[in-house]
């Protein structure tokens, strides 16, 4: 009974995420209007059958802007988390495999990066790079690199001690072969679960940065930016802010639920952990 509930949860999460990814990537196809098209006559409208989610302060269609905003957020976050996974994963694996001073130096540097509060380090990086969608992505990548390094180093250390790695070494396999063919495949489920969970968190960080005006710049459609622009017209027409918030919530929620359900399915030992 419980297993069934879990699998239902996983199916639900996959569908929720898939729909949002399709909507995001297909924004130009699905969106009813041009995201930049302004209309002074139709400013700050409540939802109608013409504009399902209403219009913003420049008369732009909120639904269209949200679909394109999904695209901006998703692409930035996928990019950021992939870079963090590659960099952090490589560092964590190298540290675990070679041990010794290399391990100590790498993990010390990761500890230092990890010591910063996430938003603060991100803000610092953007202060250097200048506000932009890609600056926000770069900031998220740097902030998440130590998290991946720490996450993968632990299980990789255990694997390095395993008998089959010793066996592979004994028959003369190269370091690269052992890391890529023997260690990495065994980390696949950890990587999959954590990448999904961190994507969920990255979506919130990106939205926060754009909300603060440090990420995506107007007039590019962005969920965080829509929230901050909509805030100024809250009492007149809250639609833009409300729907943009729901969009951020659903996107982040979908990935988090997916990560949670994946963890339960892939690793029964971890069932019930936060």
């Amino acid at each position: 009974m419980q297993r069934l509930a879990k699998n239902k949860l996983l199916t639900f999460a996959v569908v929720l995420v898939a729909i949002q990814i399709i909507l995001a990537l297909g924004a130009p196809v699905f969106a009813p209007y041009d995201p930049m098209a302004q209309s002074v006559a139709r400013r700050l409208r409540a939802p109608t059958e013409l504009n399902w989610f209403g219009t913003d302060q420049l008369g732009r269609d909120v639904l269209t802007r949200i679909l394109y905003g999904y695209r901006t957020s998703l692409i930035a976050c996928l990019l950021a988390v992939s870079v963090a996974l590659l960099a952090g994963g490589a560092l964590g694996l190298v540290a675990a495999y070679y041990r010794g001073w290399l391990d100590r130096i790498i993990m010390r540097i990761m500890d230092v990066l990890f010591a910063f509060p996430v938003m603060l380090l991100a803000i610092g990086i953007i202060a250097v790079l200048g506000p932009h969608t890609y600056s926000a992505a770069a900031a998220i990548a740097v902030v998440y690199t130590p998290i991946f390094a720490r996450l993968l180093r632990g299980p990789a250390l255990v694997l390095c001690e395993s008998e089959y790695v010793a066996g592979a070494r004994a028959i003369g396999a190269s370091d690269a072969r052992i890391i890529f063919m023997h260690i990495l495949p065994n980390l696949a489920s950890v990587i999959l679960v954590q990448t999904t969970l961190l994507l969920s968190a990255a979506i919130l960080v990106e939205a926060s940065l754009s909300f603060l005006g440090l990420g995506t710049q107007p007039p590019t459609p962005s969920l965080g930016l829509m929230l901050s622009e909509g805030r100024n017209f809250l009492m007149l027409s809250p639609w833009s802010a409300i729907f943009a918030g729901f969009a951020i919530l659903f996107l982040s929620f979908g990935f988090n639920l997916l990560g949670d359900a994946l963890r339960d399915t892939l690793d029964p030992r971890l069932r019930g952990q936060p």
Binding site: A115, P117, I123, A127, L204, L234, P238, G245, P274
Partner: protein
Amino acid sequence: MNRVLLARLIDLVIVLFGVSIIVFLMIRLIPGDAVAIMLGANTEITPERMAELNRRVGLDRPIVEQYLLWAGSALRGDFGTSLWTGRPVAGEILLHLWPTLELTFLALLIGAVLAVPVGCLMAQTRGGAADVTMRVTAIAGLTIPSFWLGIVLILLLASWAPGFASLGYVPFSEDPVGNLQRMTLPAIALALPILANLSRLVRSAMLDALGQDYVRTARAKGLAERKVVYKHALRNALIPFLTSVGIMTGYLLGGAIVVEQVFAIPGLGRLILGAIAERNYPLIQATILVVTAGFVLVNFLVDLLYIVVDPRVRA
């Protein structure tokens, strides 16, 4: 005990040293003309003038020497002067620190206090539909953008209780009621993700603890279930909870920066965003350094507390 303490202290010093190097280097990475802006030069500058400017702030010296000079005065609490107001940076930070600290503290209080009973409840009703519902709700709580929640709360309150002042900030010492009134909504908005996170943690720690031998013993000797849960299991479940509360402060500080913007609270968020807008680099640098150092120290103290609470760590 002393050896563990010493090891933690060495860790602390190394991490703080690393943090200071990163914050120091951050400013070196800014494109060159920013140095001119930093020094208040508004028109074109000749190379000679640039060299003179560099000499004045010590940019012509070896980088190690520059770092030592900067870190030395930072240790004495001297972070230079703000480029635009000319006031000491340390004073500016102190002025904006209190609203953020208060907000962070209130949110942590709400989140941590509520997380214990909620988490226990989740652990006790494990399995079945109630469990799944609560888990999904917790994930939703975790992924609600707190700045959006803040906006929604303002909207709701404006229609239910139009007279309730929810924006801005008054110091607690001047008007305690007004202060708490204005802090309620932002603290709730900020606390919800913490509550979701911590209650999930309490849930799993409780499930872990309830499966232990001493719980079975307590049950076997006929203790009331409530006593078993709240006295025996909970006490042990709270140890991982403590560490998480430490880590949460970092999240809260970041979240507070964003939530402050929604509620027009003049805290560190306003300070650092203002500093970025006017390219006030010494101020950005000092704010990041001070807040990160504070966060590192909080986690160090939590670590110490951990040693006191859990005798196993001392070994």
